[in-house]
Assembly symmetry: C2
Homo-oligomer: 276 residues x 2
């Protein structure tokens, strides 16, 4: 079991968590609340000067933890596969411009295409981006997604698969994002986290909770402590590998997005200390 968190020095919040707030507003509020890190979703950068955004975040003393998200490599047509690679190269450029050390990859899947084929295409897609990632100094973090997203979001659905893929790619510019929402149920999770850390691939750690009942496959994530995830135990496994990075709060929730976002941010801070 992990030691209790007593301050916000390792608290990072994803911009999607407070989706109603545009980037500037979120950054000011996070900073004023004592949040230390921010993971920027690409939609919040649309039409913006990224260098200016970077300065704004620096002035607010927010560390840019990562850029969300690249990926979606599999496709039936070659042109679409190339378009995905191009978009990932662009994401790498954006991350470099923003000062984000890694891009999170939601790897993708094509309904009806064999998962084995999608997995192959994902690995090939990542490989095709590695020279660019190395030149930019930006890591690509494979995020295994819950099996309920295997149809159209990710054919990588366990940490074992992500470990296999990262080890096969064998590059300092490939890592893994461990998200408790996707992985908590896996009987092999402790071992796979250990393996991920030992091989130097544990790049990011995302937290939230699993609601019972869950009313929406995408946008009904819980705040830490609301659900059934053994969060402190999993954080303990992550930290036992030597991981000292951020605990990133990533919550997609129609319920919370409809609420006052200041109050929600306060709830996040409280839940972070009490339940994470």
């Amino acid at each position: 079991m992990a030691q209790a968190l007593t301050d916000f020095s390792r608290l990072c919040v994803h911009t999607i968590t407070t989706k109603p707030w545009p980037l500037e507003k979120a950054a000011k509020e996070f900073s004023a609340a004592g949040v230390s890190g921010i993971t920027v979703w690409r939609d919040t950068l649309a039409g913006k000067n990224i260098a200016q955004a970077r300065r704004m975040l620096q002035d607010l003393n927010l560390e840019v933890v990562s850029l969300c998200r690249g990926g979606f490599f599999p496709a039936r047509e070659a042109a679409k596969k190339q378009a995905a690679i191009d978009d990932n190269l662009k994401a790498i450029d954006e991350a470099a411009a923003l000062g984000a050390p890694h891009v999170v990859l939601v790897c993708g899947a094509v309904p009806g295409q064999p998962l084995t084929e999608s997995r192959k295409q994902i690995q090939e897609g990542i490989a095709a981006c590695l020279d660019h990632a190395a030149a930019a100094g930006v890591k690509l973090a494979i995020e295994p997604l819950h099996p309920m997203y295997a149809d159209d979001r990710s054919a990588v659905n366990t940490l074992a698969q992500a470990n296999d893929m990262a080890e096969a790619l064998n590059s300092p510019w490939v890592g893994i994002a461990v998200d408790v929402y996707h992985l908590w149920w896996d009987p092999d999770l402790e071992n796979q986290i250990k393996r991920c850390g030992q091989n130097g691939n544990l790049t990011a750690f995302h937290i939230c909770d699993w609601n019972t009942p869950t009313t929406d496959l995408l946008n009904d994530r819980g705040l830490m402590g609301e659900g059934c995830i053994n969060l402190k135990e999993i954080r303990g496994w992550v930290e036992a590998t030597g991981f000292t990075g951020y605990n990133e709060v990533e919550i997609f929730s129609h319920k919370f997005w409809a609420q006052d976002q200041h109050q929600f941010l306060n709830k996040i801070k409280e839940a972070y200390l009490k339940h994470s």
Copy 2:
């Protein structure tokens, strides 16, 4: 890849699939449609004389494939655990009275209780029912459920786990129900089906499809061919073990339940031949 299905001699339909129909109505319609097998859900037996129901099904030439469902063993309190065991003993008696060779187990989980503890309690619960199952000549079929049900429906979420548990219990009265909806995403599925068959544990095979998007975690299953599951390939793996049992159509769907059930049954027959 499995050989095409050309008749309905191995088609079984679950009563829940045509939920609006009570047991007698479902049985008559299945029989008239040439369906060969029926899996009876316990709710349709409430208040009924089971011996009479058995004769009714025999007269209609429907083979009783299984009784759904027992399970839900884990609990925090000893009294609740005992109540679950008592209910499973009752399900075994009902199956014997109905002539069902096995009871499908939705094993259960308690939100917030460690999955390892729930798994232990499931195995203990099944073990406590085995003498009764043997005396009644009724098998208990562990059904691994999709990881999205790990919070409150089943702590057994992969076929590997079900295989481990069935092998540990090591009884001719324990088997496994393989349902494509729960297991299709698993990269280890082919191997685990092979293992399940080799160890004599492959007791039942349930089919349907996975919709994209899926709008409800429970009641938005697709008809075969509507979704992304590699159904013919999985049936091929199942049959390669020597399995010659029924292909059981088990579809929970608000959409289909709201439709004319005669038309739906025709759609099932068409999809069975074309896509299963």
